[in-house]
Amino acid sequence: MTAYIVRRLFATIPVMAVVAVFVFLLLRLAPGDPAALIAGDDATSADIEAIRMRLGLNLPIWTQFVIWLSNIAQGDLGVSIFSNLPVTTLIAQRLEPTLMLMVATLFVAVTLAIPLGVCAAWKARTWIDRLAMVISVLGFAVPVFLAGYVLIYVFSIQLRWLPVQGYTSLDNGLWACIRSLILPAIALGTTYMALIARITRASMLDVLSQDYIRTANSKGLATKRVLLLHALKNAAVPIVTVIGIGIALLISGVVITETVFNIPGLGRLTVDAVLKRDYPIVQGLILVFAATKVLINLMIDISYAFLDPRIRY
């Protein structure tokens, strides 16, 4: 297992290299020029060129790439063109809100989805199953922004129970932090809940039709024990996979939720940087996202060995 983990970690290097080249070229080939944005309406061509020189954007693209790569090798992701702050600082500032939102969303999604999926499979083709799947389809179908606005209107504007927007850091108290995450976690978690519930149901249905489940039932084991200990554990591999994919998506793909609820996370940082052509931030973020996804995939693969003893690396 250790050898496998080391091998997989080394395998991330070429993946990251491909991502680095791809991101760098894509950004430079896309239209847009941060120098023109900085210079504004009144700028002359000479003004814009002077800013491009200052930012090093006038250098040949391969020279820029080599400079960037050598900085990365020294752990330096660069400095934001606009705020002049190190990219690492900007990412660090946004990490807590994103991680907290991710944890809250997964909590909402997993705690609702697995019971829902198990019940639907257990009571397959009954009204319980159909109700569970209706909930699940609705979870998929309702856009996050719409769910967000409705939740804000009901719980923040009408009932005044929860804040409309913003993220309260853990430094200001755990409950204050949780309050600021309840609505975004529900809005975003609904989609993931739907996905996990459907996968859980499908996986459980498959396991529940196996001989050993029939044997367990015929031996007179309690239904709860059969479902949770025998069936759910054996159905866990696809469920864990989809949860893992969810984690990877949540780290980088929660822009709409962050926008609607004004959470200063990594998703908004990415979008703002792309719109402003703040190249160092976009490059740094995508590298971080790629590394995170590779590591999460590795963790999922390792978890298979624990969930299913037949799997060995």
């Binding site: 896309a30 239209p31 847009g32 020029d33 941060p34 023109a36 944005l37 900085i38 210079a39 504004g40 309406d41 009144d42 700028a43 002359t44 061509s45 814009i48 002077a50 800013i51 020189m53 200052r54 934001s80 606009f82 705020s83 002049n84 702050l85 900007l90 500032q93 946004r94 606005y149 804000i152 209107y153 923040s156 504007i157 005044r160 804040p163 409309v164 927007q165 913003g166 430094d171 200001n172 108290g173 755990l174 409950w175 204050a176 949780i178 926008t259 609607v260 609820f261 004004n262 200063p264 908004r268 940082l269 703002d272 719109l275 402003k276 052509r277």
Partner: protein, 534 residues
């Protein structure tokens, strides 16, 4: 039975966790008044001389001070300056700084700081460049007195020093002001009424300012950017909330106190919400719309084709689409912001005649042979995008061969600097907006410049136009200025450097049940003089 016990246990456990969490809730610190304002953009740079972004100007006037400041009627008054004299030949300005000016680090403000700051601003800003073109010397007399020596009696010195909007001539410490203009000043130490709490700065989200306890405000009443900048709250948080709906809901819920630019769609809701007031930001409309034509390439290299474009623009169509409520917009056919002293609508009958058939006929007669017109159409801007669509519809209805190049705004800004042929990556036309204060007079309105390569993008070329603009800057009397403004209007109507699609104001909204004393300022919102009830 077993299941119900489990459920009860679960509920009790949940309640215990929630009670436990309550114990962790932070005890509020000493009640301080914090004004939370949602702005149109995030403070992403600390140097107001580095970029023309308005938000950089807003940050600038929070932490820095200026030599002069304009009042409600755009008249400049001394701010950091105590006394000043102007020589009879209007070529020498002698200014003395008032007492009590200190940097946030406690050191005094000196003329060395002022001179270095004026040099830096004068190299970057258009109004500054125009003024510095006639400045032969910035002389230090002593630590508090300095002289501005001019080669010609340039008439806009005080207006330039007191300008609002972008690239405000704020005074920085000498060591910061000596930073080369294309490099950013990264410190945030000013002498203004607020101090930036840099450790709490989260670019893209929040910028926090505290009251400067050592600031000595002027005695006069606060008016515009002039008068006493008395800070009456402990802190101001400038927040960036990207979503318009969320901003509005946050104001309604009382989570923010001040909304700089509510979406016009939501203004009726805000106006009808108890505890919220919507107000105009100053006497001058905040925005005007521009259809910029590229004078380098066919078909708009021909004046007659450019003049024919007037008949494609019905300002009401644009303004209804962008703003909606006529209370907030104005049809204006002047090249100077309507409602200000030098506005003149001479030629209105031609400029304002909306007739698509006539436009097509005139263009054909002027030599337009149905070649494609490349329109840079922004897809992600709350006003420019709908305005571009209105124009594209009119052009297509007139039967013109339109090639709409759909790009995000950042890409439009990059492509519009290209002088290449439209089919080789250049352009024929794009839509943009400018601030009302940028067109207060013909000298300040850089879109009127016709200095060929030295002109703004679009590169109009007309010697007489630039002569008239220079004459305006040297005019001695108001009557002389107004006469020149009229001549410039006539000249611009022939030259067509751009076509305006009207002007409008962007009101702000605030919690009137919590805030009082808001100072309406043209060009920039300010946060001094505001009291907040906790």
């Amino acid at each position: 039975m077993g299941n119900s016990i489990s459920l009860r246990t679960l509920l009790m456990g949940t309640a215990a966790v929630l009670i436990g969490l309550g114990a962790f809730t932070a005890t509020p610190a000493k009640a301080e008044t914090v004004l939370r304002a949602s702005m149109h953009a995030d403070v992403r740079t600390l140097d107001p001389h580095w970029t023309t972004q308005t938000i950089a100007g807003i940050h600038g006037i929070m932490i820095y001070d200026t030599l002069f400041g304009i009042d409600d009627d755009l008249v400049p008054h001394p701010q950091m300056v105590g006394d000043y004299t102007i020589s009879d030949d209007r070529k020498l300005y002698t200014m003395t700084l008032r007492d009590g000016l200190k940097w946030h680090d406690g050191t005094p403000v000196t003329t060395d700081d002022v001179i270095a700051s004026l040099k830096r601003w004068g190299a970057k800003d258009q109004a500054g460049r125009a003024m510095m073109g006639y400045v032969t010397a910035l002389e230090k007399v002593d630590a508090k007195t300095f002289k501005i020596v001019l080669s010609e009696p340039y008439g806009l010195v005080l207006d330039s020093l007191g300008k609002t909007g972008t690239m405000v001539p704020v005074i920085m410490r000498e060591k910061d002001a000596k930073t080369e203009g294309n490099n950013q000043v990264t410190e945030a130490v000013g002498s203004g009424p607020f101090m930036m709490l840099k450790d709490q700065w989260v670019p893209g989200s929040k910028t926090v300012y505290a009251k400067n306890p050592n600031y000595v405000p002027r005695k006069e009443k606060a008016e515009g950017l002039s008068g006493g900048k008395v800070v009456k709250v402990d802190k101001v948080e400038l927040l960036w909330i990207a979503d318009s709906q969320t901003k509005m809901q946050a104001l309604i819920a009382g989570e923010i106190d001040f909304l700089e630019q509510p979406s016009t769609d939501f203004i009726p809701i805000l106006e009808s919400t108890p505890g919220i007031k919507v107000m105009n930001t100053g006497k001058v409309d905040s925005h005007w719309g521009t259809i910029r034509l590229n004078h380098l390439h066919p078909p708009f290299d021909k004046p007659a084709v450019r003049q024919a474009m007037y008949h494609l623009v019905n300002q009401e169509d644009f303004l209804q689409t962008i703003v909606g409520d006529e209370k907030y917009y104005k049809v204006c056919h002047s090249y100077i912001t309507c409602g200000t002293p030098y506005a003149d609508e001479t030629g209105k009958d031609v400029i304002g005649k909306y007739d698509l058939k006539l436009a097509a006929q005139k263009m054909k007669a002027a030599g337009y042979n149905n070649e494609p017109i490349y329109v840079l159409a922004a897809t992600d801007h709350h006003t420019i995008t709908p305005a571009s669509q209105v124009l594209l519809t009119a052009m297509r209805e007139a039967g013109l061969n339109v090639n709409a190049v759909s790009l995000d705004w950042s890409s439009v800004v990059a492509r519009r600097t290209k002088k290449e042929k439209p089919e080789d990556g250049g352009w024929n036309l794009f839509v943009t907006t400018s601030s009302g204060v940028s067109a207060l007079n013909p000298a300040l309105n850089t879109w009127l410049g016709a200095g060929c390569d030295k002109a703004n993008i679009g590169w109009p070329c007309d010697e007489e136009m630039d002569k008239l603009r220079a004459q305006f800057a040297f005019a001695k009397t108001e009557d002389e200025r107004k006469a020149l403004a009229k001549k410039i209007q006539v000249k611009a109507t022939e030259l067509v450097p751009y076509i305006s699609f009207g002007q409008w104001t962007q009101p702000l909204a605030y919690r009137s049940d919590k805030l009082s004393g808001i100072v309406p300022v043209t060009g920039l919102p300010v946060f001094w003089n505001i009291e907040k009830k906790n």
